[in-house]
């Protein structure tokens, strides 16, 4: 299988993730979409690493995973706190921090 296919899949996954972030209101779903985008990028990194015979891309994928894990921990904690006070997971409801 040619690496170009992996890149195409990564693009598709990324676009799905991005559209999900923009159109969905539920914070949980937005998180999942962000994960999708991150992993799409990981896939692209690995595919490019394979294409160019360079290990850097694979190493970066590990870094992204670590960062994603940390981000999810913090994000879920915030989400939980908001849900406890507002009984809602909609990101549009949590709009107090503004001008």
């Amino acid at each position: 299988m040619s690496p170009g296919n992996f890149v195409a899949l990564a693009v598709v996954l990324f676009v799905i993730g991005a559209v999900g972030v923009l159109v969905r209101r539920n914070a949980m779903v937005i998180f999942m979409c962000i994960e999708l985008m991150l992993n799409a990028v990981n896939l692209a990194f690995v595919a490019f690493a394979r294409m160019h015979g360079n290990l850097n891309g694979q190493v970066i994928a590990f870094f992204v995973m670590v960062v994603a894990a940390a981000e999810v921990v913090v994000g879920l904690a915030i989400l939980l706190a908001i849900f406890r006070t507002r009984r809602s997971a909609s990101v549009d409801d949590a709009s107090l921090l503004k001008y």
Partner: protein, 647 residues
């Protein structure tokens, strides 16, 4: 001016050498410490010192006077050319080539002033104990008075111009505090401010003169500046002299900075006595005489001093002749008398001893006159209008007697002090031998007549004639604590002049400082005789107007000259139209420019930024998804730009 050249050559020789002080004179700083200690204790001690504050306030000046007598006795023990002694207290400023030591100089000139300031000052302080007895602020009053004394002593004792300047400013501050002592009266507050501002103009002149000295000679010490003043160009010396004169005009209330003196009468009467007799207004004369070596080399500067003196002499006399307020009439008299001293100082070395002689004599009789005025006010419910006095000689016998003694002294009836002191001044002016000398001498002669006129007027309006008192007035003699100082001053006024002038005692004593030795003791001169005739004529005229005819209780309408004199010869109006109004226009213009121009520019920039950011702020909606969209669009733009750049 041919006479001035000869003067210049003698002046260069009189740069006296100053020796270090020994013995009791080494403690000359005590003179400053005594009154300063009282001022600090009384002003910082607060209400706790209320009960005994005035006693300390009197004891310290007396202690300073006793020390001054000791130092004076020690000085008399030295031969004439070794009497100038110097006490180095500490190193004040040391910055590269610029070094200033706080040093005190005890010489013939400064000891005269020290004795006058502490002696007459102490009498005024004792008097104040009674005069201010019922004033709740008596302790504060004595604190300020001691501060005044300390500043004045620093001024006359300094051995360099910078320390002199410190005392000079201290005198200005203390006079401000004392003139505005009753600051609850708006008139007093305004008068204090006026005195301070008028003095500030003069101070600017003095500070510029000091800077000029430093750039020219590289030093500001008397010894350094006077050592070789000829090193400077004549123009610089004239500029220096004129700047010093400006400073002297401010402190000594000479034209054109005279206007504050009459308003300064708002202060308590002992303050007026202190300002007019012992401290403050004599400082200008001291400055001119002390700076003699500079003036000796600049005939133009000396001429300016003499002209200012002559003009003020007539100006003050005319004002004094028209005032109904006894203190203001006396204040006009002070202006006039200080004018005499400036005139004498303007004559040059030959005039210095007479300027100082008149100054010392004036210290006695003017203090006496003011304290008498205070005693009269004390007995008359603080009435100052002489049209409401009259016939007081029988109810206030001591006050009348002392006033009469001072009166005889000031108008110059022989053998009292004013006669000797003043006539020598007039004589010195004529002896200059030039046309200006004649003009100035004639002005001084007329001034002697005017002095006689206004003093006779005060005497008759106050002590003789019908009793025109207010209905609730019960005049009574002041307590002894107030009468004794005045009696002593009256005795001084009677005797001092003859003492200092007979045998040219004072002129010889001051000789090493002034660089002038009187050739022949001349007691009765032609000028003196003419002056005496004028004094009698003007006195009789005043008697005809105010003694023989009844004095109306309200001031009658008068023609232009009298109205002008009542309004201080429009001194305030001139200041107002020439300085105050243009100044106000200038400040208003600056304020307008500042508000519209500078502030306008700054405010416009701020308003634009504020308005823009106010609108941009709306972007911060709080909706996470809109932030995400903007990030997304930004990312797309970035990638698109990168791709475009690639292609």
């Amino acid at each position: 001016m041919t006479g001035s050249l000869a003067v210049a050559t003698t002046a260069a020789a009189h740069a006296e050498t100053t020796l270090p002080a020994v013995g009791a004179q080494r403690a000359a700083w005590l003179l400053l410490v005594f009154p300063l200690f009282a001022a600090v204790v009384l002003l910082l001690g607060g209400k706790r010192t209320d009960r005994w504050g005035h006693l300390l306030g009197v004891a310290m000046p007396l202690a300073a006077f006793v020390y001054a007598l000791i130092a004076f006795a020690q000085m008399l023990g030295y031969p004439g050319d070794q009497r100038s002694r110097d006490v180095q207290v500490y190193n004040w400023i040391s910055a590269g080539a610029f070094k200033v030591n706080v040093g005190l100089q005890l010489d013939q000139l400064s000891i005269c002033f020290v004795l006058l300031i502490t002696g007459v000052g102490s009498l005024i302080f004792i008097y104040s104990v009674g005069y201010m007895a019922h004033d709740p602020g008596r302790r504060r009053f004595f604190g300020y008075m001691n501060l005044f004394l300390a500043a004045m002593l620093l001024l006359v004792l300094a051995d360099n111009y910078l320390v002199l300047y410190a005392g000079w400013e201290g005198v200005g501050l203390a006079s401000y505090l004392l003139i505005g002592f009753w600051q609850h009266k708006p008139a007093a507050a305004v008068a204090a401010k006026k005195a301070f501002i008028a003095n500030r103009v003069g101070d600017a002149g003095l500070s510029l003169a000091i800077m000029l000295m430093f750039t020219t000679f590289g030093t500001v010490s008397f010894a350094g500046v006077f050592h070789h003043p000829g090193a400077a160009s004549p123009g610089v010396l004239t500029a220096m002299g004129l700047l010093l004169l400006l400073g002297a005009c401010g402190k000594s209330a000479q034209l054109p900075l005279q206007s504050w003196l009459l308003d300064a009468m708002e202060g308590p009467t002992p303050v007026s006595a202190l300002i007019h007799a012992a401290t403050m207004v004599t400082a200008g004369v001291y400055l001119i005489v002390r700076s003699g070596p500079i003036f000796d080399l600049s005939a133009d500067a000396r001429l300016a001093v003499a002209i200012v003196g002559a003009a003020t002499l007539l100006f003050g006399g005319i004002i004094g002749s028209a005032k109904d307020d006894i203190k203001k009439a006396l204040a006009g008299s002070t202006m006039s008398q200080i004018g005499y001293m400036m005139l004498a100082a303007g004559v040059g070395p030959a005039g210095y001893p007479f300027a100082i002689g008149l100054l010392l004599a004036h210290g006695f009789y003017k203090a006496g006159l003011f304290l008498d005025a205070g005693s009269i006010m004390h007995g008359m419910n603080d009435e100052v209008n002489m049209r409401r006095f009259g016939g007081l000689f029988s109810v206030l016998p001591i006050t009348f007697t002392t006033f009469a003694a001072c009166y005889l002294a000031i108008i110059g009836i022989p053998p009292f002090s004013g006669f000797f002191a003043k006539d020598t001044v007039i004589d010195a002016a004529y002896h200059d031998g030039t046309t200006t000398g004649w003009i100035i001498g004639t002005a001084a002669l007329i001034g002697a007549g005017i002095t006689s006129f206004y003093m006779t007027r005060i005497l008759f309006m106050t002590f003789f004639g019908k009793r025109r008192w207010a209905e609730d007035a019960h005049p009574h003699e002041a307590p002894r604590v107030m009468t004794w100082p005045v009696i002593l001053l009256g005795l001084g006024a009677l005797g001092f002049g003859a003492f200092e002038i007979l045998g040219d005692r004072l002129a010889k004593f001051l000789g090493p400082v002034s660089g002038y030795t009187p050739p022949e003791p001349a007691v009765f001169t032609l000028a003196g005789g003419v002056a005496l005739v004028l004094v009698v004529i003007f006195g009789v005229v005043a008697w005809l107007l105010y003694g023989r005819r009844p004095v109306p209780e309200t001031a009658p309408a008068a023609g232009f000259p009298v109205t002008a004199a009542r309004k201080d010869l429009y001194g305030d109006a001139i200041n107002e139209s020439l300085l105050m109004r243009p100044g106000q226009w200038l400040t208003r213009l600056s304020v307008y420019f500042d508000n519209r121009g500078v502030d306008g520019l700054v405010n416009t920039v701020a308003a634009v930024i504020g308005g823009t950011s106010g609108r941009l702020r709306r972007v911060q909606t709080g909706f996470v998804r809109s932030y995400a969209l903007s990030m997304f669009l930004g990312g797309v733009l970035l990638v698109g730009a990168l791709l475009l750049a690639r292609i």
